[in-house]
């Protein structure tokens, strides 16, 4: 509640404890963690001085899990148990994964999301990502010397609901409190904008390891307003490697490869791509190991011209997305003040050149394209955790893909158009088709196409408990709310009778709540920690957060907005909760937390009224302070 904790004019603010909050860039190829210290956003290093943690997870024979450089070094020798680019699998079924034939994993098509069989058992991409997040969490807590209040985790702007939910689930598994899911290009804009005091309309071109995003933002006095976003959540630097890999197979006329050779050759392809950033040609040499081709030598030379030609279709694809974003924002190239390059893949000279040509200006690369996302996320995390800094900024982001409902004939009717500013909600009325009908099914989809089959199925909701009426008499209002994280929630109410319908939510993608709880329990067991102790700690953390929020609210508005009795009632519940936290009954803490929460309902409403009133009358709290 950064804005509300303001001292009386002329008085200094009470000493404010600095909260430990981090920004995490959970990347396809590399992941990073950053934090704001003494007003500066910094990337945190591991004990060897590395900023980048390769997003590689290896399950070892002794049951341990290795993450990062060590795992990466072994990926070609142990390809089936070493998972790279797990981000590409987040929230995705097997049928969604392109190039699955070239991936050296043993896939299992589980309901909700593809999973991989490893020597440590079947692992979902959520669990694999959680391993990466755990390592970054430990790195941050070591560097900062305390427990984290929370983290902002970045996601590609073009991630759909299923992919976002999967990311949030991974954070939960890793024991992180997610302050916000933040779109990667928006995070980059924050780091860039604050560093350069930029104003005007900027384009963020973000080509990462596995995803491509383009966002157009208007920067104005600390407000970062996304005007349009577009992209491809399955297009990145990996695809450039794969083009080289396929070219090698074609040139060498190689027989079918085993998993080891596939992984080695993909690595050679990546090395060749990186080499070509500063050189005119790259050598690709490898000796095959499979039974059919043992000892066969591959020795090829790839020129930068050949590489550019091979990958030109990929570059064109990114520029098509840029054109779509410009069209959605109703802007022309001439109106763009600057283009910021983000993501390691933007180092490729022909990508840089294509973007420069398209916009008629040289793109900005003065911040490290690998780090800029994490740096921006840390700034936002610092603000959300309640550390008031000079950076008083506001991010207004959008939903990347339209949200629609299935109608008759397998068609989709859009209810929330893409690029709507978040948070956004839409209420839709439904009625019954038959006399006495008591249930109906609603299918929510995300995407731009008209056909159900061409959009992503997000969830099927069943509305039950509709009072029996004549056909068409019931009026069920269903509200679709998308929050600031870009996540969907649904509520329903039968209007005519006032019956609040009982809704059964069945996500078509992602993990069920049961599955996550199951994983949480397994992870407790493997950490040899008592499950009860963990539950107790989680309950206590929630309770302490609430107590702090209420205490802050009371000290600011308790005098003016509450009468003595009301104030006493709240303080009573607070005292009760504080006592309960001392005990070791998680359930009791939850109950007392809920009671305090309920006791402050009216107070919260009054405080919001005051906030709105002040905003409407233009008496900005910031100006009051001066």
């Amino acid at each position: 509640m950064a804005l509300l904790q303001i001292a009386e004019p002329g008085m200094s603010a009470a000493p404010h404890q600095h909260k430990l909050a981090v920004g995490i860039d959970l990347g396809t190829t590399n992941s990073l963690v950053a934090t704001v210290r003494s007003g500066m956003s910094n990337v945190l290093l591991d004990e060897y001085g590395h900023a980048l943690l390769p997003s590689v997870v290896r399950y070892l024979p002794d049951g341990k899990v290795e993450v990062g450089h060590k795992a990466q070094a072994q990926q070609s020798l142990d390809p089936q148990n070493t998972i790279v680019s797990a981000k590409r699998l987040m929230g995705r079924g097997i049928s969604d994964i392109m190039d699955i034939a070239h991936l050296p994993y043993r896939f299992v098509d589980a309901p909700g999301m593809a999973q991989i069989t490893t020597r440590a058992g079947v692992k979902s991409p959520v669990e694999i990502s959680a391993e990466i997040l755990k390592v970054l969490k430990i790195r941050a807590e070591r560097a900062l010397g305390g427990e984290l209040t929370g983290a902002v985790i970045t996601v590609p702007a073009y991630f759909d609901d299923a992919q976002r939910q999967a990311t949030k689930d991974a954070a939960r598994l890793a024991g992180l409190t997610v302050l916000r899911l933040l779109n990667e290009p928006t995070a980059a804009a924050v780091a860039y904008g604050l560093d350069n005091a930029a104003e005007g309309v900027y384009v963020i071109y973000d080509l990462g390891g596995g995803t491509f995003d383009v966002s157009i933002l208007r920067l104005s006095k600390g407000v970062f307003e996304v005007l349009a976003t577009n992209g491809d959540s399955a297009l990145g630097g990996d695809d450039f490697d794969r083009r080289i890999f396929c070219w090698v197979l074609e040139q060498a006329k190689a027989p079918p490869l085993n998993a080891e050779d596939t992984r080695f050759l993909l690595t050679r392809a990546r090395e060749a791509k990186e080499w070509l950033t500063d050189h005119m040609e790259a050598q690709i040499t490898y000796v095959l190991t499979s039974d059919e081709a043992r000892g066969e030598v591959i020795n090829l030379t790839l020129s930068s011209g050949q590489f550019n030609a091979l990958t030109q279709p990929l570059v064109s694809k990114t520029l098509s997305a840029v054109r779509r974003a410009l069209r959605d924002a109703n802007l022309t190239v001439e109106e763009i003040k600057g283009v910021v390059m983000v993501g390691g893949a933007t180092r490729m000279p022909h990508v840089h050149l294509a973007v420069a040509e398209f916009f008629g200006q040289d793109p900005l690369t003065n911040l490290d394209p690998d780090k800029v996302v994490a740096l921006g996320a840390a700034i936002q995390a610092n603000i959300l955790a309640g550390n008031r800094g000079q950076d008083d900024l506001l991010l207004l982001d959008v939903i990347p893909l339209s949200l629609g409902l299935e109608t008759m004939g397998g068609l989709v009717e859009k209810i929330i158009p893409r690029n709507s500013t978040l948070p956004v909600a839409r209420a839709q009325d439904f009625t019954t088709f038959k006399d006495g009908q008591t249930a109906m099914s609603i299918h929510v989809l995300q995407g731009e196409r008209d056909l159900v089959s061409a959009c992503r199925s997000l969830a099927r909701f069943e509305l039950r408990g509709i009072p029996p009426m004549a056909a068409g008499a019931a009026r069920i209002r269903v509200t679709f709310q998308i929050d600031a994280d870009g996540l969907l929630s649904v509520s329903a109410r039968e209007q005519a009778s006032g019956v609040e319908s009982h809704i059964v939510v069945k996500p078509s993608y992602g993990l069920s709540e049961d599955a996550i709880i199951n994983m949480l329990q397994t992870s407790y067991a493997s950490a040899e920690e008592d499950k009860k102790a963990r539950m107790l700690r989680e309950a206590a953390v929630d309770a302490e957060r609430l107590i702090e929020a209420i205490a802050n609210a009371l000290s600011k508005d308790g005098e003016t907005l509450l009468d003595v009795q009301e104030r006493l009632a709240i303080e009573q519940e607070m005292k009760q909760l504080k006592t309960t936290i001392q005990g070791n009954d998680a359930r009791a803490i939850q109950t007392a937390t809920e009671a305090l929460n309920k006791a402050t309902e009216a107070f919260a409403a009054r405080r919001m009224d005051v906030t709105i009133h002040q905003a409407l009358t233009g008496k900005n709290l910031k100006t009051l302070e001066i």
Binding site: G386, S420, A604, M608, T611, I612, A615, G618, N620
Partner: protein, 176 residues
């Protein structure tokens, strides 16, 4: 939340008319969101977070309505108790129907020929047509109070918006 019973124009401190001071709208929108956005309540109690979500959603809805000329006109008419009947009243003047058919044919032809520049050109033409209608709306709503005429113009604009969306779809299909 008494404040939210007032209409979208009052919310942003703007006069209730079609002609729009978009700079004031943008500024007041940003000022409002700076106070009520969920990011301002990240460490507040669950109730305050919920209120903030609801209010920020309403502010976004109001802003989107006023920002879009078709939606703004529709909303103004709604405030006057006029239903624009976009679903039920599909009767259009013959000349407008002819124009519609020409556009539809042009989209089909350009799509067939995979001619993206032709589609882009068509978008520009249609944008100009929309501008003309918006000017008519300004006169009908702000000067003449000709609500039925305005209602008809909104129906035409809704058609045009749909054609625009279809052209954009056609371009996306060709680009893929």
């Amino acid at each position: 939340m008494a404040e939210f019973n007032q209409n979208h124009f009052a919310l942003f401190g703007l006069p209730e008319q079609f002609a729009l001071d978009s700079t004031s709208l943008d500024q007041n929108y940003r000022r409002l969101q700076s106070e009520v956005h969920p990011d301002r309540f990240a460490s507040a109690s669950p109730h305050e977070r919920l209120h903030s979500l609801q209010i920020a959603t309403q502010v976004n809805d109001a802003y989107a309505t006023l920002k879009n000329p078709t939606a703004r006109a529709r909303y103004l008419l709604q405030l006057q108790g006029v239903d624009t009947q976009e679903e039920s009243n599909t009767a259009m003047p013959a000349d407008f129907l002819m124009l519609q058919m020409e556009w539809r044919e042009a989209i089909a032809e350009a799509s067939e020929a995979e001619d993206i520049p032709a589609l882009e050109h068509l978008l520009k033409t249609i944008r100009l047509e929309a501008k003309v209608l918006q000017e008519q709306l300004h006169i009908a709503l702000d000067e003449n109070k000709a609500l039925h005429e305005a209602s008809a113009a909104v129906r035409k604009l809704a058609f045009i918006d749909k054609v625009r969306a279809d052209i954009e779809q056609a371009i996306i299909k060709l680009e893929d």
